[in-house]
């Protein structure tokens, strides 16, 4: 079980990586969204937002009306942000549960893929 602090640390690394990726900047153009992250094992909630192709800081708690809700274990979230986990694989196996439109899901997956694999 990852602590909230570990998650924030992992997210910060991901945030720097995403915001520093030019291609991802193009991909996120016009995609201003609020995403809720719900850790199923700890019950903690977090909010991340994308505005102007920039990934904002992770807020503790669920703020605002989300466009997308991602539910996973805190360990999976930490691994995902560190790039050590393939979110698609986890999604297909049911370990990551989503609520939102398929376009938003695609963009979120693109963030992890492009940030780490640059495909």
């Amino acid at each position: 079980m990852a602590t909230g602090q570990e998650l924030i640390e992992a997210y910060t690394d991901w945030q720097v990586r995403c915001n520093g990726n030019q291609r991802l900047g193009k991909m996120l153009r016009g995609w201003d969204r609020t995403v809720h992250l719900v850790a199923s094992d700890t019950g903690e909630g977090f909010t991340l937002s994308v505005a102007g192709s920039v990934l904002g800081d992770l807020q503790v708690g669920l703020a605002g009306q989300p466009d997308l809700v991602v539910t996973a274990t805190s360990e999976d979230f930490a691994d995902l942000f560190w790039g050590d986990l393939n979110p698609s694989e986890k999604y297909l196996s049911g370990d990551i549960v989503l609520a939102g439109s398929s376009e938003d899901v695609m963009r979120l997956d693109a963030m992890s893929m492009v940030a780490f694999l640059d495909q």
């Binding site: 690394d13 609020t34 989300p66 050590d84 549960v97 609520a99 376009e103 893929m113 780490f116 495909q119």
Partner: protein, 494 residues
């Protein structure tokens, strides 16, 4: 919004889509389910069905097929309730059977989308050629233009908005029903034996017509891929039910009108809906039905391309398809699957045209057979998961599951077999042969290529990127590839 307690894997989303800023409403769920099923190919399938039944009793076959579609609705309702996700088909099939078999079936099923998209492009192209009185060779050009537009808009990330889809589907269904009723009313002759499906025909013909009738409802279940975006999870289940009912009414009226009013040449043409329009409103009716045919393509192309390309993308990301298929363009669209689907659809459409222009009947038979096959698989999954995942939450449960699931497997299995060897009221094993070849290719790919792809993916990850997450003090973390391999082994064992 409060954070709820732990929600284990496989359960419904913790927050659901209810609180989402953009969530799909019930009306759009109904129009999606109905619109995906009502493709341009529907007109041809309806006309083809007339050949099997006596007089104007085709509606009875469609009614029986509708009752069977409701059986399938029960299976998909239970499975969708258990796995409310776009990846549901992978989830329930991999829980119910060996993952390799599940993948093989899924790949074969995916070909239905290519067939339907190809056939729709051909039908719309043929209708335009006919109505514009241009040489038939131009059908391929229309097809290319239509598919090019579909591919182009998909690559630009354009998705038809929910309200546009609602309007498009309503127009298609209402116009088709009204044209059919008006054409019947203006015929001035009473229906011939509307309650005598066996008059001068054999029972086998009736079974064949029901098998073909299944195709008229096919793809109504594709709306389950929208399970993550509906406002209320129950919308999907209710929408599918309503879609089957709407499809029955429209298809029954249309088929009866076609059987009553059109001659053999019109029924076997690639655009039987145009003479039907002419019988209702003269030349204006022809143009009206041409426009409606073009609108059906909007739903098919939009739904077909998005559903298939995203599924291929996710499967490639999982490591079961080459990684090239997971490449994204700058609009986060998996461009390789989109282009590949467009090219494959165009090739199929051209083959249909070159071979003789009536080979769409083979596509209809294949579509009906594959659809019946997937319904039988759904019945199997429901039954198997009642044992394997007995404690899993089920918002909807099929009653008398043993009886109905076994009935579903037997009936849909037989109907699939009948549909696959019957083309235009004659024995023709070509659809079965093509399905078997596709199935064998999928199985071979799954058994031979997928393990190599997955191993290569693990090697690639190990070679290019060591684990990044820092180890906790006092713990030794394993490398990513080791964990992944362990997961693979566990998955293989299970």
């Amino acid at each position: 919004m409060t954070v709820g307690p732990a929600s284990g894997a496989g359960s419904a989303p913790a927050s659901g889509a209810a609180g989402l800023r953009r969530a799909m409403g019930f009306r759009t769920a109904v129009s999606t389910s109905t619109g995906l099923a009502f493709a341009a190919l529907q007109y041809l399938a309806a006309a083809g069905l007339v050949a099997y039944v006596a007089g104007d009793s085709a509606w009875i076959s469609i009614g029986v097929a509708g009752i069977l579609a409701l059986l399938a609705w029960g299976f998909f309702g239970e499975l969708n309730g258990m796995f409310p996700t776009a990846a549901a088909i992978r989830r329930y099939m991999s829980h119910a059977m060996d993952d390799r078999i599940a993948l093989s079936i899924t790949f074969t099923y995916l070909t239905t989308i290519v067939l339907v998209v190809a056939a729709d492009a051909f039908v719309v192209g043929a209708a335009l050629t006919h109505v514009l009185h241009v040489p038939t060779g131009l059908t391929a050009v229309w097809t290319l233009v239509l598919l090019g537009l579909a591919v182009g808009s998909n690559l630009r990330g354009v998705k038809v908005a929910g309200w546009v889809q609602d309007i498009a589907t309503t127009i298609v269904l209402v116009v088709t029903a009204v044209v059919s009723v008006v054409a019947l009313a203006r015929s001035g002759t009473p229906l011939h034996g509307p309650l005598q499906p066996f008059h001068h025909t054999s029972g086998t013909n009736f079974v064949e017509s029901v098998a073909l009738g299944i195709f008229l409802y096919s793809a109504f279940e594709w709306v389950t891929t929208n399970a993550e975006e509906v406002r209320d999870p129950r919308h999907i289940h209710r929408a599918m039910f309503l879609a089957v009912c709407i499809l029955f009414v429209v298809c029954a009226v249309m088929t009866t009108a076609m059987g009553h009013l059109l001659d053999h040449g019109q029924l076997t043409s690639p655009f039987p809906q145009l003479p039907l329009g002419a019988r209702a409103f003269g030349e204006a009716g022809v143009w009206l039905m041409t426009a409606v045919t073009a609108v059906t393509a909007l739903n098919t192309f939009n739904g077909g391309f998005i559903t298939a390309s995203r599924f291929i993308y996710a499967t490639a990301r999982e490591g079961s398809l080459p990684p090239t298929l997971a490449r994204l363009n700058d609009r986060a669209v998996p461009w390789v699957p989109v282009v590949a689907l467009g090219v494959a659809s165009f090739c199929v459409a051209v083959v249909v045209e070159v071979v003789g222009g009536s080979e769409w009947e083979v596509l209809v038979a294949m579509g009906a057979a594959l659809e019946a096959m997937i319904y039988a698989v759904a019945a199997f999954c429901v039954l198997r998961l009642r044992g394997r995942l007995a404690e899993h939450h089920r918002p909807f449960r099929v009653p008398l599951v043993r009886v109905l699931a076994i009935l579903g497997m037997v009936v849909f299995g037989l109907l699939g077999l009948v549909a696959s060897v019957s083309v235009s009221n004659r024995f023709d094993p070509l659809p079965l042969v093509i399905i078997l070849v596709l199935g064998a290719a999928s199985a071979l790919y799954t058994v031979r290529v997928v393990p190599r792809l997955r191993a290569a993916e693990l090697e690639r990850r190990a070679a290019t990127r060591p684990r990044r997450r820092p180890a906790r003090p006092g713990t030794a973390r394993r490398a990513v590839p080791e964990q992944a391999m362990e997961r693979e082994e566990t998955s293989e064992r299970s």
